[in-house]
Amino acid sequence: MAPSESIVLNARALERTLSRMADEIVEKNDGTDDLVLVGIQRRGVQVAARLAAVIKEREGVEVMRGALDITLYRDDLQTVGPRPVVGRTDIPVAIEGKHIIIVDDVLFTGRTVRAALNELADFGRPARVSLAVVVDRGGRELPIQPDVVGKLIDAPKNARVDVFVTELDGRDEVILLQGSGA
């Protein structure tokens, strides 16, 4: 099969999606008190920053933010090689009693979120942990479900879903890649 590329969300649609996700997060938290957005490296960090910007615009509040690199917590480190690049983890607040929203671009097998939960636990005991993702593409291998979803699609296992953000990629877009190029 020849590789095919389709747009899941264009720049405008991504912007609307992020705005709605931000609203949902504030709604679920019943305000912005004790809210901490923790983005998973890499693109989850930019998505968390976008969500925080929307919340600031709507609520006038700067919500707390952090970044999590889960590389050292992966369950496939003994099989992958060469070693994946380790990114920066930065949890600038004490997470005890906080409502942590783990933010990522794409939810697939759930293994990244499993690693993120384990890593978070090494920082303390939050009151609650929720999961917000831009795209839920299905294909879970662990019992993990998101609380806030930007777009739900049913992508075949061998397909690829890429979220592009201006900060890193020069454009805002979500793409579904299928076939041999994926």
């Binding site: 917590y73 003994q78 099989t79 992958v80 090689g81 380790v86 920066r88 983890t89 090494d122």
Partner: protein, 317 residues
């Protein structure tokens, strides 16, 4: 698949600039782990590491041990003085016996140059050189590079002078290789009796006077003057050494610019370095110690990818 570092870390001479940068880039984010309340990540869970020390060491051994524990490896320390080495067992027999107990990595410190490589060629486990004779001490070189890169952003075009007993120093050799590969200019300064005759072949400048070195350098890496050198006839006296080659506040002030001061420890205060320099604003000596743990964590992480036993375990073999 091959890990980008290969099986072992034996020295910086054989690493490329890209490999050295990869280790530094990996070490940087790992520093954060030591700031946590729970200073531990599960990365090397189930891996067994033996610290095989045939020579006295406090800082390096403890630093390796912290790094191993913070990566969740299980560690065993073997000190030659209390092992069957005193009964005449050879290095290879010691290592093979350890391997028969299913270990994954060996960190070795040995008084003979080349001991780490000798071992690496004969056992399957990853071998990390923690200092072999007067040859190399790669993790010390790497932590020096990280400390300088943190301060300057880049090493390219920077000038680093290694001062003191270069002749007997594995730290000097690892530094020279590493610094030059990352684009720094390197010089050495010390009494001619403590500089190797062929030192210029390594592409370094030589200063006979510490004042010249200070005038030239952006950083001084001040080596420990091993006190036994005095009885060996290399220098007339410690006082004489301090008078001519000691890094003093007064000498540094004359440079009228910031010169970073490194020292691999343990320091002889008042001999190669004065206390007000070691504890002064431009000293990065304690940063070196902090960075040492992160560098060793990075090396463990990067080498573990190439451990045949770990790979077999993952395959269910």
């Amino acid at each position: 698949m091959t890990a980008p570092l290969g099986k072992d870390l034996l020295g910086l001479e054989r690493l490329s600039a890209e490999q050295i940068s990869l280790i530094l880039d990996t070490a940087e984010p790992l520093k954060e782990i030591s700031e946590r309340t729970i200073k531990k990540v599960p990365t090397l869970r189930g891996a067994t590491i033996v610290n095989l020390f045939f020579e006295a060491s406090t800082r390096t051994r403890i630093s390796f041990e912290f790094a191993e524990k913070r990566m969740s490896a299980d560690t065993v320390n073997v000190a030659a003085a209390t092992s069957s080495v005193t009964k005449g067992e050879t290095l290879v027999d010691t290592a093979r016996n350890l391997e028969a107990m299913k270990i994954d990595m060996v960190v070795i410190r040995h008084p003979s140059s080349g001991a780490a490589q000798f071992l690496a060629e004969r056992i399957e486990s990853n071998v990390i050189n923690a200092g072999d004779g007067t040859h190399e001490h790669p993790t010390q070189g790497l932590l020096d590079l990280l400390t300088l890169r943190e301060r300057w952003g880049t090493l390219a075009g920077k000038r680093v002078c290694i001062c003191g007993d270069v002749l007997h120093s594995r730290v000097a050799r690892s530094n020279i290789w590493g610094l030059k590969k990352l684009g720094a200019e390197v010089a050495v300064c010390g009494p001619r009796s403590l500089l190797p005759g062929a030192i210029t072949e390594l592409g370094v400048q030589v200063f006979d006077r510490i004042e010249q070195a200070i005038e030239w350098a952006d950083a001084l890496n001040v080596l420990r003057l091993q006190l036994e050198r005095m009885t060996g006839g290399y220098i007339p006296s410690l006082r004489e050494y301090n008078r001519v080659f000691g890094v003093t506040r007064e000498r540094l002030d004359r440079a009228q610019r910031d010169i970073l001061i490194l020292h691999p420890g343990p320091m002889n205060r008042g001999v190669e370095i004065d206390s007000d320099v070691a504890d002064g604003p431009h000293s990065v000596i304690l940063d070196q110690v902090t960075n040492g743990v992160a560098i060793r964590m990075a090396v463990l992480y990067l080498l573990a990818g190439n451990s045949p036993r770990l790979a077999d375990a993952a395959k269910g073999g």
